[in-house]
């Protein structure tokens, strides 16, 4: 009897253990993130008891996407912090490093990177937030594109693409 109960407990233990480790890390990291939010960023937690899924809204105050509002969904799976958070852009956007499906190309979210720029368990949520926010300024990179079409257009005629991006922001990302 005793062995049976024990075995059962052990089976579910693996998963619940990982969750509790993630949640312990998140309690500190979410607080640290909230204390260090850039002025262009807001977070919202749909379920205040669940720190592992939240929205991030970036409202750039400079650059091509200025004054747009871009909403991202951040999901932190059980294997955090061995694995990076998952980031999805929910707002329609024309951006070299964000695909039409909302996939985000950010080096620090990349696993198995050999250049030292990829995911490391030493990184924190606040680093991810800074990274996403910087995609609209410093980290915007037409040379390492996810939206290849847009980047090719940009190489051919950058002014035209800038114009298109501005129009797209006005049509899709203004509140």
């Amino acid at each position: 009897m005793i062995t049976l109960t024990r075995k059962k407990a052990n089976e579910s233990n693996g998963q619940s253990k990982r969750i509790s480790i993630r949640d312990k890390l998140l309690v500190k990291e979410v607080q640290e993130m909230e204390e260090n939010l850039p002025s262009t960023v807001k977070t919202s937690f749909p379920d205040s008891n669940n720190l592992s899924e939240f929205y991030l809204t970036v409202q750039p105050n400079e650059g091509l996407w200025k004054d747009g509002r871009f909403k991202f969904l951040i999901t932190i799976n059980e294997d955090y912090n061995m694995m990076p958070p998952k980031v999805k852009c929910l707002t329609k956007i024309l951006h070299p490093n964000i695909s039409a499906a909302g996939d985000v190309c950010l080096s620090l979210l990349r696993l198995n990177s050999i250049d030292g720029m990829g995911w490391m368990p030493t990184r924190r949520l606040k680093d991810v937030i800074f990274g996403i926010n910087s995609l609209f300024t410093d980290l915007c990179d037409f040379d390492d594109p996810l939206n290849i079409e847009l980047s090719e257009e940009y190489a051919a005629n950058s002014e035209k693409v800038k114009q298109r991006i501005r129009e797209h922001v006005l049509q899709n990302a203004m509140r």
Binding site: K17, S20, I21, K24, L25, K28, N81, M82, M83, L111, N112, S113, G116, G118, W119, M120, P121, T122
Partner: protein, 110 residues
């Protein structure tokens, strides 16, 4: 202490006692080991001398008396982590998360 003596009594320092040096050396060794005790594992953010977050979750009863399974590992780069934490990470990427160097174990704590 010995240096102050040195400066103020430079005219008669031929009989400076050797013992002073022994004492100073012992002191600095004690400081060093205190530093290591306070080092934080950059992966789980718990002190390396305590059980890691995973081992703590496993045996909530007696966290302080760690059973020897949760040891500290030092890499060739001199960075230290819990062995538990580091062995999980090297499966993803065999690099030190602090300095990005290729990870190879220098030693483990007993």
């Amino acid at each position: 202490m010995s240096e102050d003596n040195d400066k103020t009594s430079y005219d008669s320092d031929s009989s400076k006692p050797d013992k002073m040096f022994t004492l100073k050396k012992w002191n600095s060794v004690a400081m060093w080991s205190w530093d290591v005790e306070c080092e934080i594992c950059a992966i789980c953010r718990v002190q390396v001398m305590d059980a890691c977050l995973r081992c703590q979750a496993e045996s909530k009863k007696d966290i302080q008396s760690k059973d020897g399974a949760c040891v500290v590992v030092w890499g060739e780069c001199n960075h230290s982590f819990h062995h538990c934490c580091m062995s999980l990470w090297v499966k993803q990427n065999n690099r030190c998360p602090l300095c990005q160097q290729e990870w190879s174990i220098q030693r483990l704590s007993s």
